[in-house]
Amino acid sequence: MRFVDEYRSEPEARKFVDAIHGVVTKPWSLMEICGGQTHTLIKSGIDRLLPEQVTLVHGPGCPVCVTPLEQIERALAIARRPEVIFTSFGDMLRVPGTSADLLSVKSQGGDVRIVYSPLDAVKLAEQNPNRQVVFFAVGFETTAPANAMSVWTAHRQGLENFSILCSHVLVPPAMEAILSAPHNQVQGFMAAGHVCAVMGYWQYGPIADKYEIPIVVTGFEPLDLLQGCYMTLKALEEGRSGVENQYTRSVTYEGNRPAQRLLRQVFEPCDRAWRGIGSIPESGYRLRSEYATYDAETRFDVGDIEAAESEECIAGEILQGLRKPHECSAFGSKCTPENPLGAPMVSSEGACAAYYHYGRVKVS
């Protein structure tokens, strides 16, 4: 397949693997930010091809994983209401709240529907004027423009029965939180290519300078990740910091300016809680006051809902790269995709799920 096979070629992959083995002389710890990257790394077996000195740690870039428990509880409370059609991307349906998930609510009669675009949710609102249609707006800078577009479209059409449960999170503040944590182990970042396709990478220079680390904007195919690893490791070995761009076929320094304009028009930065990590200043988006009527949290008065995480789940440490999934005592026993304690075991992009599905047994 054009633009796919080129990035999954074994001879090309072997060249990068050999180059990585050639450049590494000491232990290094790299973080890939995005859960999609984690899955490619493990699904294609890259983690097993790297030198032993290289430790890959998995970042907080899984939107399903970092959506806080109380936000899941708010979603469940809204989805249970008879007047509501609750819409979401598929990934969110199996994320556990304290006692249920959206699929359970569906099996109990809630009108929960998977949509493939937030604009499909807007269409549902048009088609069902007597129902309230709510879209669970999760995700990083990648999904935020489409979600902003849904609110902008509903506003332009004067739809009064559409709203979003807004849970957007932003990458650069999370990177700063990880780097400034006292036990930080991350020495270099492979930044999420699709986030940068929207936002550019102008925000990353000050972070690389402040913490004196290399940041390499990296794509999602196996060869992207191998090249991203190589570029990061080479910079580390040569003692360089700064930002490099591996994903030049999709990412520019400035990013997608119309998308950024739309984001600024509809959303404004706010402090946001991350599941398992806690609150990070200015790390999320909320609706601007002009669009506040589209906020499901206030429309359905669920803002006061609180919830406590499982004490056994170490998702927060995993999402900060401090521990690996298999270092959790509950991994694969008390915590499985069927009975998850935390979101990283549920999401298709979660690090625990990746380890569970693709890496549970040692293969030679």
Partner: protein
């Protein structure tokens, strides 16, 4: 389970973790781990008998005395399946032809020639008679092509709003030849794994017309009656055919996991050798699906002794249903009970049972 939860009647000894699934989920019928759990932990112990315990696509019964076996005794393969597909009509097929193919294939995967099927219809009040006629015509044509008669049936009608138009249950029977021993426990180290063509076509064809997800594709379901492929192997290498399985719900990954588990053998797949059409690859890339877990309705996995595998491959390739057949892996002594895949870039990873349904990704 909390002490406060009201217990269902059988919950005292029910091994399913009811506290986690107090109600049936869609994934209990998805062919993955939850389906397996329901069958192995609930149905099999409840109906406790040695034939059911084989967990094959169908039951094989000695004609004279139930499960008792004696030399020369005629054996019957017996299987049932229910069809609740949406939409009822999809590219290349419909629920009627699917209901025939699904059941005759389950009989064929026992190594038996399908003879006859039953058809049970559950119709929703208000369903268009013209559409019902189309479905019945399609069943008739599929049955003729598969060489089976629809010999008995049943019809029930449910209130409007209590069904999806039409549900169909079919049950099939077929006869086994003497000496044929097909069993999911039969895989042994060195055997090769064959498939008769590109995977995941049925699942993606259905998704392409599913409400809310429609996308343009030339792709059609692969739904077909597979006994001719089984017959080719039984005619030419009956002693070297170990296992047959049609990878329907849960896809190739789930079928091979079941075989690996029941044979306690390791399976090693080669990603580059697994036939996959460009359309299916593209759709799976966009949706974030792994084609190994997507349903098929006209595909057959066969595990064959290593020294006859190439011959089996040529036999299949000589038939229209196997023109794109391939050897996709082998049975190994490493990692018993597990399926492992060598990726296109040379890495290794586990191919697990599907947990729940595959859901489209966020980004």
């Amino acid at each position: 389970m909390s002490d406060k939860d009201p217990l269902p009647r059988f919950a005292g000894s029910c091994p399913i973790p009811i506290s986690d699934y107090p109600m049936v989920q869609m994934a209990h019928g998805g062919g993955g781990r939850l389906s397996q759990m329901l069958i192995e932990k609930l149905f099999v112990p409840a109906f406790d008998n040695p034939v059911l315990e084989n967990l094959h696509d169908g039951a094989v019964l000695g004609l004279s005395s139930g499960s008792e076996r004696s030399p020369g005794q005629q054996r019957l393969a017996f299987s049932t399946d229910s069809f609740v597909v949406r939409p009822l009509f999809f590219p290349g097929g419909d629920i009627g032809s699917l209901a025939v193919h699904g059941t005759v294939n389950d009989v064929a995967m026992c190594g038996a020639k399908p003879m006859a099927i039953s058809a049970g219809f559950i119709l929703e009040e208000g369903f268009a008679m013209g559409d019902l006629w189309r479905i019945v015509e399609s069943m008739r044509d599929a049955a003729l092509e598969a060489g089976v008669w629809v010999v008995t049936g049943d019809t029930k009608v449910v209130d409007k709003g209590k069904g999806d138009g039409v549900y169909i249950n079919t049950t099939g029977v077929g006869l086994l030849r003497d000496g044929v021993e097909i069993s999911p426990e039969g895989a042994s180290v060195g055997d090769k794994i064959l498939i008769n063509g590109p995977i995941a076509e049925h699942g993606i064809a259905i998704m392409s017309v599913r409400e809310g997800l429609e996308f343009e594709t030339r792709l059609e379901t692969d739904s077909a009656a597979l006994y001719p492929l089984v017959e080719l192997l039984l005619d030419n290498l009956p002693d070297d055919l170990r296992v047959l399985r049609d990878p329907t719900r849960g896809g190739v990954a789930s079928a091979l996991n079941e075989i690996a588990g029941q044979s306690n053998a390791g399976v090693l797949l080669e990603e580059d050798r697994i036939p996959l059409s460009e359309e299916v690859r593209g759709a799976c890339e966009i949706l974030g699906f792994d084609p190994l877990y997507v349903a098929n309705e006209g595909k057959c996995l066969a595990i064959i002794a290593a020294d006859r595998a190439e011959e089996a491959l040529e036999l299949w390739r000589s038939h229209r249903l196997g023109a794109q057949a391939a050897i996709i892996g082998e049975v190994v002594d490493d990692h018993p009970g597990r399926v492992v895949l060598r990726s296109s870039i040379g890495g290794l990873r586990v191919v697990d049972m599907l947990s729940g349904e595959q859901l489209p990704r966020i980004c």
